[in-house]
Structure formats: structure tokens, C-alpha cells
């Protein structure tokens, strides 16, 4: 079981994490806006996360913390 947490207000919605996720479960939120006015990245299906940290590796803004 892996856990990914996003510091949502730091996210700029660049979606580099979206392309990096091998499970395809990181998406930009369609309903939320953060303090900067971007649609922040979020995990749609936390159960499927394998904790590979690929999303965090590609994130330019250190938004993502991964626990495993």
C-alpha cells in the first residue's frame, strides 16, 4: 500500500506527473481550483498506486510526497 500526498497549493497544473504515472491514475482535477487558480493534480484511484514516485520525480515544484 502506497500513499501519495499533494501540497495542492504549490501545484501549477503542468501535468508532467500525469504523463509520468505508469498506472494512469494521476489526473488534473476537473472540479477544484487551488490558491494560484490552477487545476491541481490529484490521484483518482489511490488503491492502484504502487508508490514508484515517478510522478514526484517529474514534478518541478516538489508538490508530491510519496510513502510506501
Amino acid at each position: 500500500m502506497a500513499k501519495v500526498t499533494f501540497k495542492t497549493d504549490l501545484c501549477k497544473g503542468c501535468s508532467l506527473c500525469v504523463g509520468a504515472c505508469p498506472k494512469g491514475i494521476v489526473k488534473l482535477s476537473e472540479t477544484k481550483l487551488n490558491a494560484k487558480g490552477h487545476h491541481p493534480a490529484e490521484v483518482t484511484d489511490p488503491e492502484k498506486c504502487i508508490g514508484c514516485a515517478f510522478c514526484a520525480t517529474m514534478c518541478p515544484d516538489c508538490v508530491i510526497t510519496v510513502e510506501r
Binding site: 500500500m1 504523463g19 520525480t57 517529474m58 518541478p60 510526497t65 510513502e67 510506501r68
Partner: protein, 251 residues
């Protein structure tokens, strides 16, 4: 559960001013991770350039000097020579290192100054609004080359790694990219080796990081990463261009 990935301690909590998807953030993080892993935060001095990374001193917890345009290797030379116990690195873009700072770069390499240079090449002047840089690809459209870079009138791009590989003084020269997870991990290895070389007193190390500028390239961040694969890497091939200690290490 244990934390497998978090923000490195050598980065401050300041919010990066870079555009969404700018790979400067990734490269900042890699440098900070290497500083953390080598345990050199307290004795590291960075030299910031002029360009998008001019405010790097806000983002790293180590000491920083901000140099005049292109003069970061010269300032780093002074810092390192006045206190050789410090670890000194410069963080420069292509407008800084390959245009106005070419002389400083070549000569600090020729003198084999014991410093580490992180060279971020995104083939465009980012901070000033997307003008043609020395590293702009032939045919690439920028603000000042609206019909694409015409090599007949403005000449060919400067290939810094190829250039420095012919300078006898340069000890370690490698080109890496940060457009996918594998390349990011390789980039970190290269940056770590460049810092280790300095700690071991091996002399001038330069790591060129092929980077993106989604805003001025006029692309989405994801498309910009693909463009690096399709256009940048074929023109700027990745790999180790010079390692004067490779034979020794192989033995």
C-alpha cells in the same frame, strides 16, 4: 510506511517563480538532493547567473553569490581559490554560459578550476521573452527568428559539451536531459559525480542539462518534453564527452 520521496532539505520553502512545467524546478531539486546526499550543505556556495535562474539564491538553503551576466565561472574561481575547503557550483542557462559567458566558461575549464558547473540548455532566452539564443536549433522559430533560425545569416548553434571536450583542462563533461524519469535519474547521477569530482579535487566538471521552455517554445509542458526527444536530443546527443579519470577508474 516510510517516506520514499519528499522535498530535499537543501531547498527552501519558497515557491519557485518558474512557469508551469519548467524543468528548472527538476534540476534545482536534483542539485539539492545531491547536496543532501553528500552532506555538504553547510560548506556549499552556489553562484547564480543572470537569466531565469537569477533568483536561485532564494531556493537553496546553502550560501549563494549572484554574478554579473556570464561571469559565474569567474566569480566561482575567486570563491574557490579564496577558500578551497568550500564546494562551489555555478548554475547557468544557455544565454549566460554559451553567449556572454563563453570566455569565462572556456578559460575556467582551461585552467582546470576545481568547480562544478550546471549548464541548463533550453535553446532559447527565457527570461527576456523568447529571443534566439546561441543554442537555438537551426530552423527553430523564436521572437527574433520568426522564420526559423537561418544558419546562413546568424550561424550555427554552439555545442558546449563538444567544445569543452577539446579543452585539455576540462576534467569531466557530460550532457544529460530531464524529459523523462529515466533521464532524470541519469541526470542526478551525473550531477552527483560532478560534485564528487570537486570534493576529490579532480577539477573542472560541467554537466549540460537539456531542458525545456514551454512558455517561449509555445507548447504545453508535456509537448515540450516530447520536443526534447524529437528535436533537441538528436542535435545535442546525450552522453559523457570527457572524463579524464575514466581509464583510472576502470582499472
Amino acid at each position: 510506511m516510510s517516506v520514499v520521496f519528499e522535498k530535499p532539505k537543501s531547498l527552501t520553502d519558497a515557491v519557485l517563480h518558474y512557469c508551469p512545467g519548467c524543468t528548472h524546478g527538476i534540476i534545482h531539486r536534483l542539485v539539492a538532493e545531491v547536496i543532501d546526499e553528500l552532506g555538504i550543505e553547510g560548506k556549499t556556495i552556489g553562484v547564480a547567473p543572470v537569466g531565469c535562474a537569477v533568483m536561485a539564491y532564494d531556493y537553496f538553503t546553502c550560501d549563494f553569490v549572484q554574478a554579473a551576466h556570464g561571469r559565474a565561472p569567474a566569480v566561482a574561481t575567486g570563491v574557490k581559490r579564496s577558500d578551497p575547503s568550500k564546494i562551489v557550483f555555478t548554475y547557468q542557462g544557455d544565454g549566460d554560459l554559451a553567449a556572454i559567458g563563453t570566455a569565462e566558461t572556456v578559460h575556467s575549464a582551461a585552467r582546470r578550476e576545481n568547480i562544478t558547473v550546471i549548464f541548463v540548455n533550453n535553446a532559447i532566452y527565457g527570461m527576456t521573452g523568447g529571443q534566439m539564443a546561441p543554442t537555438t536549433l537551426p530552423g527553430q522559430v523564436t521572437q527574433t527568428s520568426p522564420y526559423g533560425r537561418d544558419v546562413e545569416t546568424v550561424g550555427y548553434p554552439v555545442k558546449v559539451c563538444e567544445l569543452l571536450s577539446n579543452v585539455d583542462g576540462a576534467a569531466y563533461v557530460e550532457r544529460v536531459a530531464v524529459n523523462n524519469v529515466k533521464n532524470v535519474k541519469n541526470a542526478k547521477k551525473a550531477i552527483k559525480k560532478a560534485f564528487q569530482n570537486q570534493i576529490e579535487g579532480k577539477g573542472f566538471s560541467l554537466i549540460e542539462v537539456v531542458s525545456t521552455c514551454p512558455t517561449n517554445w509555445g507548447m504545453t509542458p508535456e509537448k515540450a518534453l516530447e520536443w526534447v526527444d524529437e528535436k533537441m536530443i538528436p542535435y545535442y546527443p546525450l552522453g559523457v564527452y570527457k572524463d579524464i579519470y575514466a581509464e583510472e577508474e576502470a582499472k
